[in-house]
């Protein structure tokens, strides 16, 4: 392994800056796309007006003006963009409350769920991936591999429903009398964590197995590196980068998983908010959520790319 050369630091800084710029550009494009997609459909929020008891054309005009819908699309777009850095994501059509406030209120619930799920994913994928590779010819290994494969394939809607059923059956049988609040977070996090762990486990396993065939590994064995953990580490280390990238990817895609999990387990959060806002036609809220998701994803991917340069300088040349 070659230590990072600080002679190329200026080149390095330039490529980081370029990477960040690209991320921001991509984020901007995603935001614009979201804005256009939703505005095309939104049309006149008549339903909103009616549900607030505003029936006359004068009322409709008043609300339109208040929400800024009477101005040309380009103006609305510029207003929307300029509000973003300040955290202004518009107002909900139904309650006129700032979208940013609504999102911040629901954020802790989703963060708790996603955070715990991420920890579970880490633990499970490490266990499954390394275990399947280490015991690859034994039945245990094959079983662990099947578990990873199942975790990849089984949709969250089914795993979640199955776990919900088991949990409710246990609770109502009186075996576990009214569980503490902690379980209500842990069970959905377990579902989500399990579903996400399959891909990473598989990548880890494949990487380790591949490395075990490589010359450097045989060399290590020949050198007399002890069987067991030290030897495993030699196979594991180079297998980490793709697994880690995948982990970072999964972390930002966790948002999608929370949509289903929050629905099934009746938890408040951003996922449920998204489903409701789309069904209700509250497009500023839906737009705000997608914008936030896109932004988080783009930025974290950019960061991950930059950081992976540290793990393997060879990658840096392709940036």
């Amino acid at each position: 392994m070659v230590p990072i050369s600080y002679r190329r630091s200026s080149q390095f800084l330039i490529s980081i800056a370029r990477r960040l710029f690209e991320s921001l550009l991509t984020a901007w494009a995603a935001v614009t796309f979201t804005f256009l997609a939703l505005r095309m459909s939104a049309g006149d929020p008549v339903g909103v007006l009616l549900s607030r008891g505003l029936a006359s054309p004068a009322d409709a005009d008043a609300l339109r003006i208040q929400l800024g819908l009477n101005r040309p699309l380009a103006t609305q777009y510029v207003d929307f963009l300029s509000g973003l850095p300040g955290g202004d994501l518009g107002q909900s059509l139904y309650t006129s409350r700032p979208v940013a406030d609504i999102i911040l209120e629901q954020l802790p619930y989703t963060l708790a769920l996603a955070g715990l799920a991420l920890v579970i994913t880490l633990v499970l994928s490490v266990f499954l991936g390394i275990g399947a590779a280490w015991w690859q010819r034994k039945p245990v290994g094959r079983m662990l591999q099947s578990v990873s494969g199942t975790a990849i394939a089984l949709p969250v809607i089914f795993v979640g429903t199955l776990v919900l059923w088991a949990f409710r059956a246990i609770v109502t049988s009186g075996f576990l009398h009214l569980p503490p609040t902690g379980f209500q977070l842990f069970i959905p996090a377990l579902v989500l964590g399990f579903s996400n762990s399959g891909g990473i486990a598989w990548t880890l396993q494949a990487g380790i197995q591949e490395n075990m065939q490589a010359p450097f590994f045989l060399a290590a064995r020949a050198r007399g590196v002890r069987n067991g953990l030290p030897l495993l580490w030699h196979a594991l280390k180079p297998a980490l980068p793709p697994a880690v990238s995948l982990f970072a990817l999964e972390a930002s895609f966790l948002f999608t998983g929370t949509v289903v999990t929050e629905t099934i387990f009746a938890r408040p959060g951003l996922g449920r908010l998204l489903v409701q806002s789309i069904l209700d036609g509250d497009f500023p809220v839906a737009q705000g959520l997608v914008v936030v998701a896109a932004f988080v994803y783009t930025v974290s991917l950019g960061l991950a790319d930059i950081c992976s340069y540290f793990l393997d300088p060879r990658i840096g040349r392709e940036v």
């Binding site: 607030r52 963060l111 708790a112 955070g115 609770v171 379980f183 280390k237 960061l303």
Partner: protein, 531 residues
Amino acid sequence: MIRTNQPSALPILLILLTALILTACQSSGITPEGLVYGLTLTPSGLDPHLNASSELGIPLSSVYDTLIFRDPETGEFVPGLAQRWQVSDDGCRYTFFLREDVIFHDGTPFNANAVAANLDYIVDPDHRSQKAVFMLGPYAGWSIPDPNTIVIHLTEPFSPLLDSLSQVYLGMASPLALETWGPAEYQFHQVGTGPYRFIEYIPNDHIILERNPDYAWSPSIYNSQTASVERITFRFFTDSATRAYALETGQVDVLGEIPTTEALRLSQLDEFELFTIPIPGIPFQFIFNTEHEPTDEASIREALIQALDREFIVSTVFMDTSPIAQGPLTANLLPPTASTTFPAYDPDAAIRVLTAAGWDRSSQSGDLSRGEIPFVLTVIVPPWGSAPDVAQLMAAAWQELGIDVVIKLVPGFGSLLEAQRSGDYHLIAMNDFGSDPNVITSYYASDGLYNWSGYSSPDMDQLLVEAVLSSPDGEQRLAIYREIAFLVQDEALIIPIRDYVNLVIANQRVDGLHFSSQGWFPYLIDVRLNS
């Protein structure tokens, strides 16, 4: 040696772990001691003077007192904030003699000026009240002969007025708060005189009430003088499939609108108690659009009703918890008679009528059509009250006759209104509540707000006007509503399905729960928690 930690994942992990810890600390703060009460719909606004949702009345009936209260058992009116009242002989002046010991939650005194301020707030056209203003009928203003007496003036007699004044929509709010916050913001800072204080409202998330220790003017219909539970948190459970789960895991102590089979199952368990609360008013029904072909012909509408085995539909979806609806008003408001009862299940008669009107089944597709035009019905359905299930069974029955049925599910009340506005429907589902039969007026008056059938008749308008002129509890009044119900049945304007019954489950922590005359609103003052 190269760094072998994983920096890209580490910052994300650290952030999420910190968030997790912070959230865990915070959520234990959100989890309250006290009662957790469930709400099942998110109202677009929470101000009872301005908004119409029944859901808002669930918490707010305990935040506000009304001038009078209505006994849920006997229907009698009992003193509330008014110790006694008089109605003038011509029925146009109601004089209320108010209590003098009542204070609002913000410390300001309750008096005739306060009542006047509330009335002004409700009738202000800029505030656009969706319900309260209509409940006042032919309101013409107030006068204050002395600081603790107020007279409400009407242009004509209006028999539902006392019932209106007993509901939370005409609850008394602090004029100072109304003035300070204004119609847009007041819903977040409500101040009443009731046994509970309004603490916080985060839309779609929670409402918090706290016991009012100074409450000392409880009406006779309350069993207690003051509230027992310190704090009540209301949470939203809009997804009906998860309500039983929420109860089982203790996320909520009391929750209504439980799907029938789940309610029955939970009631079998020791930990839960089932309340079957009948909701008087407009039963759950489908309203025909008489301005859209082919439902513009009364004979066709009647045939469509006869094609349905409504007994079967109601018993399948609601088991025994809801009686089948027999007319445009629930049986507890207007007991049905032979002349007002809707046609029974008679598929052969239905087919005869359809054939006579020129609708034949094509031999190929089996679809019903008249010449080139196929028989298509568009049905608009909201998600609550098992409406989609009923709609599916109705569609199945009509499909047997070769009718093509399109079910349009709308996600909420706003979209229901929007769909109705478009006029592009043959049937639209609706139900409404009210402890006075006057609630039917806006459905059948020519200019009624909820006249979704498009039916207009001078006879009907005349009857509706007469009904509110008569005295509140006369047999004469009931007879008029019977005539109205007959007209509705004769013209086949609706398909009545069931008298709405709210299935409420409370867990064993909860004691003393009972509900108001409107059915929806619990008297939280009497609730006690066992630990």
